[in-house]
Symmetry: C2
Subunit: 245 residues, 2 copies
């Protein structure tokens, strides 16, 4: 059932590539295609943010019509956003019944840590020769920020900086799709991360030491060692979480 749209009179010659760069060097501005912002996208981001921030707890219901009414839009874009969130694993849609926020079982949790360990290590192995001095500086700054926030008892800020630290680690690899997977896995765990830190009351000191290992390896230009270090870091984080629960 190929969509044969042979009924249009004029064959619209669609350029294979968007061909944004005309002649002038407008390339650097508008690197992104400058897409239109649809209500569906807004709804998606709205709900996703709420999910990641833990404002919607696992098991809780999401009523499309209520969301739509609150946002002043119709249900259609909300439903579409929910479909996308379902395919990302954030919610579960029970047809004709309801939409509930997905949780993670103990097993799924463990699996996610394994996944992240493997992918973070891949990122660092692939980062060989791509690490700019400025990046190292930024990583150092983030590491310092975590330390400061931790000592100040500002757990939320420490967690936030930790997230930025890791994202930066991923991104030096230049592996965009891997980063996207990692980001998604990370975000789905965010709820539990917040819970855990609230429960133990502080950001783990061991975590800082492990970051230090990674940084040292990177500064020495030894990405293989850094990869092993980040893998250990992730697996230990898993154990820490397990014992907190």
């Amino acid at each position: 059932m190929p969509p044969r749209t042979a009924r249009s009179r004029r064959p619209r010659p669609r350029p294979a590539a968007p061909a944004p760069a005309r002649q002038a060097d407008a390339g650097s501005l508008f690197a992104a295609p400058l897409r239109h912002r649809t209500l569906e996208e807004l709804a998606y981001e709205h709900i996703r943010t709420a999910l990641v921030q833990g404002k919607l707890a696992p098991g809780q219901r999401i009523v499309a019509s209520a969301v739509a009414r609150a946002a002043g839009i119709s249900r259609i874009p909300v439903l579409q956003a929910l479909r996308r969130l379902e395919s990302e694993g954030f919610v579960r849609i029970n047809p004709h019944r309801d939409v509930v926020v997905s949780g993670l079982s103990r097993e799924e949790f463990r699996e996610r840590f394994l996944l992240m360990a493997a992918l973070e290590a891949l990122c660092l192995r692939e980062a060989d020769g791509k690490i700019a001095p400025a990046t190292l500086q930024q990583l150092r700054a983030l590491q310092a920020e975590i330390g400061v926030a931790r000592r100040a008892g500002d757990t939320a800020r420490a967690v936030s900086a930790d997230g930025r630290f890791h994202r930066m680690l991923w991104e030096v690899s230049g592996l965009r799709q891997v980063v996207q997977v990692l980001q998604n896995v990370w975000d789905r765990g965010e709820y539990y991360r917040v819970i855990m830190h609230a429960r133990r009351g502080s950001f783990a000191a061991e975590s800082l030491a492990e970051h230090e290992e990674i940084l040292k390896a990177l500064e020495a230009g030894d990405t293989a060692r850094a990869a092993r270090a980040v893998e250990r870091h992730r697996l230990r984080a898993m154990e820490r979480l397990a014992e907190t629960t």
Copy 2:
């Protein structure tokens, strides 16, 4: 708009339900919750199948209204399906303009092989102690099927069996979410896999030898070695693809 509850009291006509299986001993059947099948799901599977099988080539347009008309449904479920396919990377939605089938750049391709290598290796490492003799037999059978199909010149069948071989490798790990990621990555590459094999006319002989390595390691119970072997296999497959292109 408050929900008007002036629900008319029409006696619903009840138009002859699809007559589900009569009340038999439905205990063991229907172990799965038997979710309702929505049009959106059907549309999703329909389009996804067409994409994976290469009936829709990258760059080609997908017109929601045409698909809907062909399927005899409205555009809404089709649009929802397309949203899901977009979040999985299969298509790209240009708001108010069109929906096009996504391709993969050379870089993205390479990245996907790295991703698969890392995850397949993870699966095999995690498979330690979970490999039933029956599984090994099935793997052997698939390996044999690939060989037979290859010698018979039935490339399509060899490719299909190769896919089943790998999926089985993944599944012994029991890591469902990782398997899902792998499946998605694999499926998105299916189009190119078909193209490549059509171009070179046969299934690679080296691939069989590399499978053999994996199998030998598994039969010896050495999952670590199997993990290394599958990683090599994947990276060599990447090189083979590169030189074919």
